[in-house]
């Protein structure tokens, strides 16, 4: 409980930091007051239309990435699993890329996120077709890898055939993942999917605990494995699909955050879920503040930074694992 409260406090602090850091250089008191004050003012506009959605999306995207990473690792009983493993992220990225390439995104602002969400939906249908309605974790992973590879290949194909270098450039930048220049519209679009997906994933706690002892033991304790699997796939599709739709591909959060919080929660999957949710929000908020401080004029992409932090961390994990096995 203490850990969760500390994490929540950290989320609130970083959320405030995210509200207060930006190129407009507003005073602390001024900016916070502007959130609650009347209309008109430039400060009010910056705070409400630029910084508030950015901070909200940072917290939301981080929360669902951390949560779905923890759920995926718990279900597959594998600390190397991450939300992208079942092909949802790459399919929704493909959806977004198609919206950028066809120009739909330029004509109608919500075309991109909606197209990304459709990509996630199609991935779920493909998983259903490939892995079957029943079946174990292995079938799910294999189906996911196949879908990931296919979506990745199609994305490359779009880039390859793109006759417009600006569109190609835009696609490449979009795929790096960012929270810059998002509006409250993005928040309202993503929120319902993320809330529904998170509810499904958070409810997996007890079954995931039982699954610690393997599929047979869990099933003999009354866990419905078929249902659990669909809860995972649909929950991840809603949450991560919405996250990719509004922020692009932000990597490593779902992989790294559950590792960080696991020792703090006694390694129990049901307790790692909410902690990863808060931890993910912390990580993305912190990274999004960092991109604004480190390179204020360069538009450093969020996904680039999380990967830059995440990859060495991953190496550290391998290092420790090697030490433990030697």
């Amino acid at each position: 409980m203490k850990v969760l409260l500390s994490l929540l406090l950290l989320v609130l602090l970083l959320f405030a930091a995210s509200l207060l850091v930006g190129p407009a250089g507003l005073g602390v008191g001024d900016s916070l007051a502007a959130l609650f004050r009347g209309e008109g003012d430039a400060v009010v506009l910056v705070m409400r239309e630029i910084r508030l959605p950015r901070a909200l999306l940072g917290a939301m995207v981080g929360a669902v990435l951390g949560l779905s990473g923890a759920a995926m690792q718990g279900y597959l009983r594998n600390p190397l699993a991450e939300p992208g493993i079942i092909g949802i992220s790459s399919s929704s990225a493909l959806g977004a890329v198609l919206a950028l390439q066809t120009g739909a995104a330029a004509m109608f602002p919500l075309a991109l996120p909606l197209s990304a969400l459709s990509g996630a939906g199609i991935a779920v249908l493909l998983i259903l077709a490939l892995a079957g309605p029943r079946g174990g974790a292995m079938a799910l992973i294999l189906a996911g890898i196949a879908i990931s590879a296919l979506a990745g290949a199609l994305t490359s194909l779009v880039l390859n055939l793109s006759s417009n270098p600006f569109a190609a450039m835009e696609i490449v930048f979009w795929m790096m993942g960012s929270l810059a220049d998002r509006s409250m519209q993005h928040v309202w679009l993503a929120a319902p999917f993320m809330v529904a997906g998170s509810a499904l994933l958070l409810a997996m706690g007890r079954p995931l605990d039982a699954l610690t002892l393997g599929e047979d033991a869990a099933a003999s304790m009354g866990v419905n494995l078929t249902r659990l699997r669909w809860q995972l796939v649909i929950g991840t599709a809603l949450a991560v699909g919405a996250s990719v739709a509004v922020a692009g591909a932000v990597g490593f959060v779902g992989l790294v955050v559950p590792h960080l919080v696991r020792p703090l929660m006694g390694a129990r999957p049901s307790r790692v879920l909410p902690a990863s949710m808060l931890g993910g929000a912390c990580m993305v908020l912190a990274a999004d503040v960092a991109v604004r401080i480190v390179a204020p004029d360069q538009d450093l992409k969020l996904g680039v930074l999380t990967a830059l932090i995440g990859a060495p961390f991953f190496l550290h994990l391998i290092w420790r694992l090697r030490g433990a096995e030697a």
Binding site: T212, L213, D216, G222, A267, R268
Partner: protein
């Protein structure tokens, strides 16, 4: 009262029946040793009876909804898996899942029975293989179901833990519960079980008191070994002595 009733239970792998028309009942107070050579269908029989594999025929457990089944029968799978570095107490408490997590006394009883009190707060994944096996047995005990199905519970345990586990199972039976355990150690089975069921190529070829099931002809036909029987003040002794084939 009957705790488990199988009628013509058949489990196929492809077209080959791995469990072939097995009929079996287990009553309160019985400690049934499920014996047979490798590949005889012991594991498949247990999993089929629990509905973990699709099967033909009838199993009284399959008539129950999954939640009710989890309260009627506990299962100790052969694969010993503890995926996360959780505490011993946490693993054992997972056995209370079918009871919605209620009943910490049951966890204490299970830990005491398996002699695991000193390990309570240790990380389960840091224990030795044999110790982990005892933790997992304690988990199944904590479920406190009327029937316990255990797949090779004593494989890989040290002599003390083997005897203790068999004693615990015999005690459960004496308390009026039922235990079915697949066992390769015929000597242990002969001493502790109230009844043995001998499986061969998916079929029950003998079912009855240990002395009768471990007859010279059954041992020769099914296992291809000969054995030695004796009655001692400490109870019956059986030891396989030599290979026949």
């Amino acid at each position: 009262m009957t705790l488990l009733a199988l009628r013509d239970l058949t489990v196929r792998r492809g077209t080959c029946p791995v469990v072939d028309h097995v009929s079996l009942t287990v009553d309160e107070g019985e400690f049934v040793g499920l014996i047979g050579p490798n590949g005889a269908g012991k594991t498949t029989l247990l999993r089929g009876a629990l509905g973990l594999l699709p099967s033909l025929g009838q199993s009284s457990l399959l008539a129950l909804a999954p939640k009710a089944r989890a309260r009627a029968a506990a299962f100790l799978p052969q694969g010993r898996e503890i995926a996360w570095p959780v505490s011993v107490e946490t693993v054992v408490a997972l056995g209370r899942a079918p009871h919605l997590g209620q009943g910490t006394e049951a966890v204490d009883r299970a830990l005491t029975r398996m002699g695991l009190e000193p390990y309570r707060d240790r990380k389960a994944t840091e224990l030795s293989g044999g110790e982990q096996a005892r933790v997992l047995i304690a988990r199944a005990l904590a479920q406190e179901a009327p029937l316990l199905l255990a797949d090779e519970p004593v494989a890989g345990l040290d002599p003390e833990a083997q005897l203790r586990t068999m004693e615990v199972f015999a005690d459960l039976a004496a308390e009026g519960r039922g235990v079915v355990a697949s066992i390769h150690d015929l000597g242990l089975a002969a001493r502790a079980c109230t009844r043995l069921v001998l499986l061969h190529r998916g079929q029950v070829v003998a079912d009855g008191p240990p002395r009768q099931v471990l007859s010279e002809s059954n041992l020769a036909d099914v296992f291809g070994v000969r054995g030695f029987h004796a009655e001692t003040p400490d109870g019956p002794v059986f030891q396989p002595m030599g290979v026949l084939r």
